[in-house]
Subunit: 169 residues, 2 copies
């Protein structure tokens, strides 16, 4: 399946010089959506993680269907201020903004096998922050997977765990 | 399955007088997560919608797994300013904030069968705004489903389509 045909390329958005990869046409295509979730699940079918961890907000889309497919629990990382119970927090900067993310401090336990997932790997800033949160909770990171990897932006070098990107630019 | 046991009740959050129903323990429980998605999918298995529509951000969690389960496409409504292509927009007020949501104007076509989904029905403000967007695109709304319905808050009366809530308070 030619997945790149299902992605809309938006030049200079949200900022000049950035090409935004819009996955909404892919999500809307029922065959393509099922295909990408099944493909991302494939390597873990024999030994699923305890948790798939999704990152606010588009990361939830990939992580949720993937957790369902794998029969895993879903854990979430949210933008600061959105989670109601005791959290751990990490501030970071990314391609076109600075931000902070949080995770409930009981979201995962020491030794839990965690697959971190987001829609797009750009500079890796958000994912690196999420990794730090999981490490603080002593989760066992078994993989860091993306629907799309923008390999020229250096994110791959920043992340010290096995990375998979289904679609690469 | 006693689903209410999997939900954390947070008094006075995010504002005094509001009890926030935190679904993160339910999502983290792999059996409970699979159960709620399967239960929400059940009524549509014989005749799935063209699209499950998820609302930014927690609504994505329910909608995505449900779209995957049903073999449907996933359409999304986002907070204003997040979608990169031509959109339609609706401003609204809800329980504890005012807001605006957008949808790509090509997200659904006239006559498409659409199942709208969110995690929690409170006053119905967000969902009513999403319904107006789908109506503007002439979508055929086949249902409006929630994981949790807070029936005392009046949202049920505001929505003029068939509503289902898996868990009611």
């Amino acid at each position: 399946m030619n997945l790149k045909q299902k992605i809309a390329n938006i030049p200079d958005w949200p900022e000049k010089g950035v090409t935004f990869r819009d996955i909404t046409p892919l999500l809307a295509d029922k065959e393509a959506f099922k295909y990408v979730i099944d493909k991302m699940a494939e390597p873990y079918l024999d030994n699923p993680p305890d948790f798939v961890l999704g990152i606010d907000a588009r990361g939830f889309i990939i992580a949720s269907a993937l957790a369902y497919r794998l029969g895993a629990g879903l854990a979430i990382v949210r933008k600061a201020g959105k989670l109601p119970r005791a959290t751990i927090k990490k501030e970071y900067t990314l391609e076109y903004a600075s931000n902070a993310i949080e995770m409930h401090e009981d979201a995962i336990k020491s030794g839990d096998r965690v697959l971190l997932v987001d829609d797009v790997l750009a500079t890796g800033g958000t994912m690196s922050a999420a990794i730090e949160l999981v490490e603080k909770l002593e989760g066992n990171i078994i993989g860091v997977d993306f629907l799309i990897g923008l390999t020229a932006l250096g994110g791959t070098e920043k992340i010290k765990y096995p990375i998979k990107s289904l679609i690469e630019y």
